[in-house]
């Protein structure tokens, strides 16, 4: 009844859950962290059905916590309506767990890092009413981009897995570029390592795991390059075998950037805005998540330049590795790095203009 789908970039995982939810006639909820992805899911629902089907509901993660977990039985814990989430403020460090100021600020907003904990507390204090109510409303809950969850979120997922509601968790642990909160609880399952938690759940009989190791988006050369970033993940098989005459991974000398852009019209990607990109309009790696481009031109950051030289990506920190993986896997046909010098990686070609 419960399953976890760990999917490579471009494998069409979001389309898959949209189709599954649309085609089944049970009442379903699709939850995802970001507003962008929520829009994307809605767009795909329209694409599949022409309308938003009545039996499918889409929500962001925090809306899910607020409207389904916290507010219905919030008065078991706190006398006021929890107005919203305080995304930026930090709770008072020495507040006790029993006091409401541990969770909620003076404007009745719940602290981002404590939202899942408050949600669980509402369920627990009300005698599991939250889950009973949810089971009345939804037969199945899909959680997309599950790698974005951390801390108490994982306890909440576990509670859902153990409930009467069917649960499908979908995500790509290599794309953990940002998180719903900053909690340090369960740090060992953070981001890429969330799969270890999935394995535990599978061993305990809570769910089954499936790997989608193919990409409809990228060609094989791009897949192979992206697989180098996380060497212990399974290899990705490309389902894009188109030939455009300029396919694969390239090195472009900084002097040739303008002519490369004129020639191929790639989407320019940068790590963050500290990279000027020679004045070309660019998108941050992280912000490109979920998007598809025919070609990308990547301005590398310092450690990525070193990795291109040595062919070894071990020195990248978790989040930077995830962002690099995201940037590379955006392209259907070609990925080019702005790089002056040698590159030891097999299959990478130098572009000569």
């Amino acid at each position: 009844m419960n399953d976890v789908i760990i999917a490579a970039a471009g494998s069409g995982k979001t389309s898959r859950i949209v189709k599954r939810a649309s085609n089944s006639d049970v009442s379903s909820l699709i939850v995802t962290y970001t507003l962008n992805n929520e829009c994307e899911i809605r767009r795909k629902l329209y694409e599949t059905n022409g309308v938003l089907p009545e039996h499918v509901t889409v929500m962001t993660w925090f809306r899910f916590l607020l409207s389904q977990w916290i507010r219905p039985y919030g008065n078991f814990v706190y006398p006021y309506r929890v107005a919203n989430v305080n995304f930026h403020g930090k709770p008072f460090r020495f507040a006790r767990k029993t006091s409401s100021s541990f969770y909620i600020d003076s404007d009745h907003r719940v602290y981002r890092d404590r939202t899942a904990a408050l949600a669980l507390k509402c369920n627990c204090t009300s005698g599991q009413r939250v889950l009973k109510r949810l089971a009345q409303i939804f037969d199945h809950i899909y959680i997309d981009e599950v790698q974005d969850l951390r801390g108490y979120d994982l306890d909440l997922l576990e509670a859902l897995l153990d409930s009467d509601i069917g649960v499908t968790l979908v995500g790509d642990n290599r794309q953990a570029t940002f998180f719903t909160n900053r909690s340090m609880k369960y740090a060992k399952y953070l981001g890429y390592r969330i799969v270890d938690k999935f394995a535990e759940w599978e061993n305990a009989g809570r769910c089954e795991t499936e790997h989608l190791s193919h990409s409809f988006r990228c060609n094989q050369m791009i897949c192979d390059f992206a697989d180098l970033i996380f060497p212990d993940a399974s290899n990705t098989e490309a389902r894009n075998d188109s030939n455009t005459g300029h396919d694969g991974v390239f090195i472009v000398n900084p002097q040739d950037v303008t002519s490369y852009i004129q020639c191929f019209r790639p989407q320019v990607l940068r790590y963050d805005r500290s990279e000027p990109c020679q004045g070309h309009r660019a998108l941050n790696y992280g912000d490109s998540k979920g998007l598809t481009f025919p070609r990308v031109l990547v301005f590398p950051f310092r450690k990525l330049t070193a990795a291109l030289k040595s062919g070894n990506f071990n020195s990248l920190a978790d989040i930077t590795a995830a962002k690099t993986y995201v940037a590379v896997t955006r392209a259907q046909h070609s990925v080019a790095f702005v790089h002056d010098g040698a590159c030891e990686i097999e299959g990478v070609q130098i572009w000569h203009g």
Partner: protein
């Protein structure tokens, strides 16, 4: 889906009220000015966020708030402990079913875990600065500062809602308020909106717009527009033409008028209008609707009312109906067991009325059950002559008529006594029955034994079987001589006098009632009057 409970606080005349409703039929009765109509308004408000067809947010005024609460608050401003300004709360508790579980939660005053919605009107906390200034001089504060109030319309899950998210439609049929022809039109169009599907509505709107577009293409209008075009430069540098305004999406509502037999509905009689509204609403197949019907008896003749109520009852199955009425007929027809007696703060209902009694009044709806239900104390008598003698007894003892003392003397055919008593028993209405002993004291004793343990019900008849009727009782205590004098007759023996009185019951009673002299009243009637 239906309303199980309504809770109202501080809304108009309803200070603090809680009412449980039946799954289908509910008939609210009560004296004037107790707030029966306000109950319907409150339900409609909580279901639609509207009052008189407009959004409550634009219709806030100080008189929406309970007067007692307002006074208390205004007085408190002069004391050391000023009160929180009054807030209005209306809660609707629905039955728990999965389809509406999204409205479920414990955010309600009873902390009950069930689906529901509430409307809450209170001082906006963001306006506390302005409010502080407003009350700084209490003698200038004459009313509640609704300008600083906010309205929140939420589910028991504490999520703000829209009318779509409730899933229970409210159909408010009010036959009381006089409307202008425009108002009636709007009212019926509102009904069409609930009756027609969104697709139908869109199609009306589209063809209406098409019609307006067509106007501009009519040859006559085109030639006028040609003419206007020639004025270019004189009036404006741009091209000037005429066309109908197609800017508003719902323009058709103001121009489309429902017709009955080709007569615009506004010109049809009020009674027919009410009936149309009601039937149109009832016809809609959806079970998720609550019908709020105010005084359906208005503007209708007896026979039309009969037809209307019968059709309402037949089509209501599966739907919830809340009817306010002043008519026994409506009450009896809809089932007296569905009555909700409302006195302004508390409700009384009839629990477990026998099926036979329910059917009896449904088949004989002419009985004035409502008079019994609304009376503070009732004296049930067998006929008009008994009624007159009881009234006379009252007048002699108190110098006032029974009604002036809050006592209702009701004539009930003797066969219906126990039907009425079953109602009085269950609704705890102090009731006295005054009747002839018909020379059957033993059997009467046995028959009324069931009421002997009830202190609020008293059955009175004389125990002497030699005087089985009222006339004999009157003769016994007054004597032939005095009765002859009171009735202006000269009968020489008792039997003839008695026969005369029996043949002219009402007329004799009327003479006795009108006589300036006191009439001696039989003991059992005296007891009924003094209610010892």
């Amino acid at each position: 889906m239906h309303i199980e409970t309504l809770v109202v606080k501080n809304f108009r005349c309803l200070n603090d009220v809680e009412i449980d409703f039946n799954r289908e039929l509910n008939v609210i009765v009560g004296n004037n000015e107790t707030g029966k109509t306000t109950i319907l308004e409150a339900i409609n408000l909580a279901l639609t966020c509207q009052i008189h067809g407009r959004n409550i947010r634009n219709e806030l005024h100080p008189f929406l708030f309970n007067i007692a609460a307002t006074d208390q608050y205004l007085r408190s401003l002069f004391t050391e402990k000023p009160q929180v300004p009054p807030s209005i709360l209306i809660e609707l508790y629905f039955n728990d079913q999965p389809e509406i579980a999204k409205l479920k939660g414990t955010n309600n005053s009873k902390r009950k875990d069930c689906p529901g919605v509430f409307i809450d009107i209170r001082l906006n906390k963001d306006c506390s600065q302005e409010y502080r200034e407003y009350i700084s001089n209490p003698s200038e504060v004459k009313s509640i500062p609704v300008e600083y109030y906010e309205v929140s319309w939420s589910s028991f899950a504490n999520e703000f809602i829209t009318w779509r998210s409730i899933g229970l439609k409210s159909l408010y049929i009010d036959t009381v308020r006089q409307r202008s022809s425009l108002g009636t039109n709007r009212h019926v169009v509102e009904f069409m909106r609930t009756f027609l599907s969104p697709k139908d509505l869109a199609e009306i709107s589209l063809s209406y717009r098409g019609l307006r577009d067509g106007f501009a293409n009519a040859p006559l209008i085109q030639s006028i527009n040609e003419l206007l075009r020639d004025t270019k430069g004189d009036i404006t540098e741009k091209e000037l033409t005429v066309a109908l305004d197609v800017l508003t999406k719902n323009g058709w509502e103001t121009d489309v008028a429902p017709h009955v037999d080709a007569v615009p509905v506004a010109l049809v009689g009020k009674g027919e209008q009410s009936a149309i509204k009601l039937k149109l609403a009832m016809k809609k197949a959806s079970e998720n609707a609550v019908f709020l019907i105010e005084e359906p008896e208005n503007h209708l003749t007896y026979s039309n009312l009969n037809k209307l109520i019968s059709s309402v009852r037949d089509k209501a199955s599966g739907k919830q109906l809340i009817v306010v009425t002043h008519s026994s007929f409506v009450l009896n027809k809809l089932g007296i067991h569905n009555v909700i007696l409302f006195d302004g703060s508390n409700v009384t209902t009839i629990q477990d009325l026998r099926q036979g009694d329910q059917d009896y009044f449904m088949k004989l709806p002419g009985y004035d059950t409502l008079r019994l239900i609304l009376s503070k104390r009732a004296i049930l008598v067998e006929g008009p002559s008994d009624e007159l003698i009881v009234q006379k007894a009252f007048l002699q003892q108190y110098g006032k008529l029974p009604l002036d003392c809050g006592v209702d003397v009701i004539t009930v055919a003797s066969l219906a006594f126990d039907r009425f008593l079953e109602i009085a028993k269950r609704m705890k209405i102090p009731t006295v029955v005054v009747r002839d002993n018909d020379a059957k004291v033993a059997s009467l004793d046995k028959k009324y034994e069931v009421y002997s343990s009830l202190s609020h019900i008293n059955i009175l008849y004389d125990r002497n079987e030699e005087y089985p009727s009222l006339e004999q009782q009157l003769l016994r205590v007054n004597g032939r001589c005095k009765l002859n004098q009171l009735l202006q007759r000269r009968f020489e023996d008792d039997l003839r006098l008695l026969n005369y009185m029996k043949d002219n019951k009402t007329e004799c009673a009327l003479r006795l009632f009108n006589s300036k002299e006191d009439v001696t009243i039989p003991e059992y009637i005296k007891r009924a009057v003094s209610n010892e």
